[in-house]
């Protein structure tokens, strides 16, 4: 047995010990203080452990768990990390993470601005989801005829730039929309590359 193979066999065991130590350290930290960022980091850690557990179950006990679960869980971890870092930014700037920096007007029963401000969240989620039929066509029919990698690559680059813009300007609608765009456009591009 080579060194790499033996390391691969032993690694899950010492990782289990590390997980127990990290868990204890989190408990010690929460007994002293319970800041929101560290609680969120703890949630991300729990998701990570759950993902590793799924891998172990699949590998050693041959349990049938869809592979997509790993990707979804990792997406959850990354989004939590982004949220934690934004919370830290917020803690230092002490600014409210609002929809847009506009002066508040006196409250009225019905305002078009309020409707548009709320409605944009529906549009921000619904419009990237319109790409799903395209993804289904590519992946189910295993054909990317008529799909331009250059165009979708440019869309992906633009979505990443919009995402950075959303973070810099703290616009939740732009952030939510472009996180969805990045994930869905990655599916289209990968399908276009694989089934071209």
């Amino acid at each position: 047995m080579t060194f790499a193979e033996s390391l691969g066999l032993v690694a899950p065991l010492y990782n289990l010990v590390f997980v127990c130590i990290v868990l204890c350290l989190f408990l010690v930290l929460f007994s002293k203080s319970r800041s929101r960022s560290w609680v969120l980091l703890f949630v991300a850690f729990c998701v990570y452990v759950f993902e590793e557990l799924l891998t172990v179950l699949r590998k050693f006990l041959a349990v049938e768990i869809p592979r997509i679960m790993n990707g979804v869980l990792e997406l959850g971890i990354v989004l939590l990390l982004i949220f934690v870092l934004l919370s830290e930014h917020h803690r230092f700037t002490q600014n409210k993470w609002t929809i847009a920096k506009m002066p508040k007007k006196k409250s009225v029963l019905f305002s078009w601005r309020h409707v548009i401000d709320k409605g944009i969240f529906v549009v921000a989620i619904a419009s990237p989801l319109m790409t799903v039929p395209q993804i289904v066509m590519i992946w189910v029919q295993r054909s990317a005829a008529g799909v331009s990698i250059a165009s979708w690559g440019a869309y992906l680059a633009a979505a990443l730039f919009w995402l950075m813009y959303g973070f810099v300007h703290r616009d939740r609608a732009i952030i939510m929309s472009n996180i969805l765009w990045v994930v869905l456009e990655a599916f289209v591009i990968a399908g276009a590359i694989l089934f071209a």
């Binding site: 790499a4 002293k32 990570y48 790993n70 990707g71 990390l81 830290e88 996180i179």
Partner: protein, 95 residues
């Protein structure tokens, strides 16, 4: 039926791009605010970089480009070590 490894791989590519955004945010945090309160978050940033490497190796494995029997396990161990260091520093800071 689509190969489930491919779907996992695409998710990992998307996750890799999003973790790049997380890394950018972490760097922005350090360059903008130089305070001891951020010391544990330096370790968390190293953890993000290692986590990105785990995702990248996972994506390569999913697409059948490269597979190693130990790299992902070792990287996971390193992520946990870095997280331990961050927690140690934060606990000491709160003492």
């Amino acid at each position: 039926m689509v190969n489930p490894y491919y779907v996992e791989g695409i998710f990992q590519v998307a996750n890799l791009l999003l973790s790049l955004v997380a890394l950018g945010l972490a760097c922005l945090l350090f360059f903008r605010y130089k305070t001891p309160a951020l010391r544990p978050w330096r370790f968390v940033t190293v953890g993000i970089v290692l986590f990105m490497a785990v995702i990248a190796f996972g994506a390569l494995r999913s697409f059948g480009v490269y597979e190693s029997p130990y790299v992902t396990h070792v990287l996971t161990g390193l992520v946990l070590l870095v997280l331990m260091a961050a927690l140690f520093v934060e606990i000491r800071r709160n003492r």
